[in-house]
Amino acid sequence: MRKLLFSGMFRAPVTEPRPPTDDAALRELAQAVDRSARRRLGHSLSIREVDAGSCNGCELEIHALNNAFYDLERFGIRFVASPRHADVLLVTGPVTANMRDALERTFQATPDPKWVVAVGDCAVDGGCFAGSYAVVGGVARVVPVDLHIRGCPPNPNALLQGLLALLDRVGEGGRSA
């Protein structure tokens, strides 16, 4: 173990510079984040991830945000274990009928101010699962959504761009939305 740790000290980190903020996400967010909330949160966001029926592809890429290449925590964004500790719900999946109740209750358990980010094409409108008897068809049908990050699944860079846009909005205390 010592050897591995030692060699790590002399290798350059694999962590990459932050991607540019996603303009489309900024526009969508312009409505979502008000000034008082920005002041309260400063430069940090706590995220509770909720799988509302995804195929688990989005979860894989959300997981990747924590690896050394993307290192989400350096931006002050971290995943928390309970909705009660969260500012943001990161929701994946077309929302299955069997998860609708759990998603609503998770939303209610999250304290204000809070934002909902819907991740993945099927979280927008059900995607390829739309029309199924078992699917509600999009996160916005169940809880209010502030930002959509598209992709099947969105890659970690797209996720990072969306989350950084949210963070910038939340953090820009001086400018009005």
Binding site: M1, K3, L4, L5, V14, E49, V50, D51, A52, G53, S54, C55, N56, G57, C58, E59, L60, E61, I62, H63, A64, N66, N67, A68, F69, F79, A81, S82, P83, G93, P94, T96, A97, N98, M99, R100, D101, A102, T106, C128, F129, G131, S132, Y133, A134, V135, C152, P153, N155
Partner: protein, 503 residues
């Protein structure tokens, strides 16, 4: 005692079911099959329904495969699950979806139907659900000092939803009962009437971590049904993608299991390797998970020379870095203290449930769909199927480590022997209804796809059976007698798919 061959000959053979035969049998033969399953002579590969009939895919002791079907015009059939427990949840699911009543099934609770669909039996009669569903009754756990811990469906980590009901005596788990179905999307319902391309896309979204294995299984089933064959280069590229997928998942799992034992160093390093694999996949095929890259009849993209170079660099990096991580795992006593002897799955249960993948192989069952029934190009490739007997978390880690090494070797062999040629021979639409079945090896175990095409080439019925169907129940057994705090570790070492199971 009939052999599978004899049993198949007793019934009425179904025309145009490939590559293995399908036979419509009577109740006596159906029950005889149940007997062979409960005696442990045969293996249940899958059990699924449709309106008015129930089907079962069987594997005999010699590697022979067949599908037996039982017409049940009155909606009832003799339960297999009452004699062979691995069929229990499959029968509960088929009842929820099709209204087929398994006579004698000891567990009459719904499984996938949580009462939120507004419909009953959505894939058959589709009657309106008029009454609210009764609340789900968990199995009782009675005794002095026992307490229950309900967990989920929303969990603490970034994982899929499911409910776990622990009954514990102090720290020790006396019973774990799972309730699944939360991510049921109705994929088999959406399949009906879909054309081949849309159906292939849906199949590839059954379980995101196995998107290659599912797309491959669906493509092979469609090719079997229509009598088509993918060109050689496509078959080799498919294997290349499948091994990349296996490698990425195994790296991710090895790190995540260690992380659940609070050994984050492994997690960080394995995470780097996993990311390298996904980036190489992206460079080669234009998608990190290689989704929608395998189509019926072939593959959607070719591997360019730059991709070959990216893969060679990937293999070199993995070969340089992975042995040190293996050594780290092997030499860290505090980590082994958590994994050795934890969550033991007995060989008998692994065999009875036909557990595939690392779950089966860590408990002495070395089944691998790449070998049996086998499919090209694996018949011309050299690889071992590592198998251990300890059945604990440690063994499931070691099987993954050895499989990752095998996948690296397979990638090298594929790059070395990759034939030139066309990428796709689009299947010609059938002139009459036809059926196909395929079994492919995902990183998690064998995926089964059974497909019936209508005369116009659209999907009439498609069943997708994830390896998790036979692994989830074994997790309930493996956690028994362990402490609650070791559950995440055991759960991650199984890493069953919720979405693949719930469909």
């Amino acid at each position: 005692m009939p052999t599978l061959d004899e049993l198949m000959r007793q019934g009425r053979p179904v025309a145009r079911h490939r590559p293995w035969p399908r036979t419509v049998v009577d109740a006596a033969a159906w029950n005889a099959a149940a007997g062979r399953l409960s005696d442990g002579d045969w293996t249940l590969l899958g059990l699924w329904g449709e309106a008015g009939a129930v089907h079962m895919a069987l594997l005999d002791g010699t590697g022979g495969i067949g599908v037996v079907s039982l017409d049940c015009a009155d909606g009832r059939y003799p339960s297999i699950g009452q004699r062979h427990p691995p069929a229990l949840r499959l029968e509960r699911a088929a009842r929820d979806l099709f209204g087929l009543q398994p006579l004698g099934l000891p567990d009459i609770r719904p499984w996938l139907d949580h009462g939120g669909w507004g419909l009953r039996h959505p894939l058959a009669a589709r009657t309106e659900a008029t009454e609210p569903a009764p609340s789900y009754v968990f199995l009782p756990g009675e005794g002095e000092g026992l307490h229950q811990i309900p967990v989920g469906p929303v969990h603490a980590g970034i994982i899929e939803p499911g409910h776990f009901r622990f009954t514990a005596s102090g720290e020790t788990v006396v019973r774990l009962e799972q309730r699944l179905g939360y991510v049921h999307k109705g994929i088999e319902g959406l399949m009906a009437g879909a054309d081949l391309d849309r159906a292939a896309a849906l199949a590839g979204r059954t379980s995101g971590d196995s998107t290659v294995a599912y797309a491959l299984a669906f493509a092979r089933a469609a090719e079997a049904a229509t009598g088509a064959t993918a060109p050689p280069r496509a078959q080799w590229l498919r294997a290349l993608m499948a091994e990349l997928e296996r490698l990425a998942n195994h790296f991710g799992d090895i790190g995540a299991i260690c992380n659940d034992a609070s050994f984050t160093l492994m997690h960080a390093h394995c995470g780097i390797l996993r990311e390298r694999v996904l980036r190489a996949a992206d460079a080669c095929f234009g998608h990190r998970l290689m989704r929608d890259r395998i189509l019926p009849g072939g593959v959607a993209v070719d591997l360019a020379n730059s991709g070959v170079a990216a893969l060679r660099a990937l293999i070199a990096e993995c070969r340089a870095r992975f042995p040190a991580l293996t050594e780290l795992y092997d030499n860290t006593a505090s980590l082994q203290d958590r994994t050795v002897g934890t969550g033991i799955l007995s060989a008998a249960l692994a065999r009875q449930y036909a557990a595939g993948g690392y779950v089966g192989r860590a408990s002495g069952r070395s089944f691998d769909a790449r070998r049996t029934p086998g499919y090209p190009p694996y018949d011309t490739l050299r690889f071992d199927v590592p198998s251990l007997d300890a059945g604990d978390v440690d063994a499931r880690v070691w099987v993954r480590i050895r499989e990752a090494e095998q996948s690296l070797s397979l990638l090298e062999q594929i790059l070395h022997q990759l034939p030139e040629g066309p990428l796709r021979a689009e299947p010609t639409p059938p002139s009459e209804p036809c059926e196909g079945m395929a079994l492919t090896e995902s990183f998690r175990g064998d995926v089964l796809v059974w497909l019936r095409l209508a005369a116009d080439g659209t999907v009439a019925r498609c069943h997708l059976r994830d390896p998790s169907w036979f692994q989830w129940p074994l997790l309930e057994a493996a956690i028994h007698g362990n402490i609650v705090a070791d559950f995440p570790l055991c759960n991650k070492s199984f890493n069953c798919s919720y979405s693949g199971h719930d469909l």
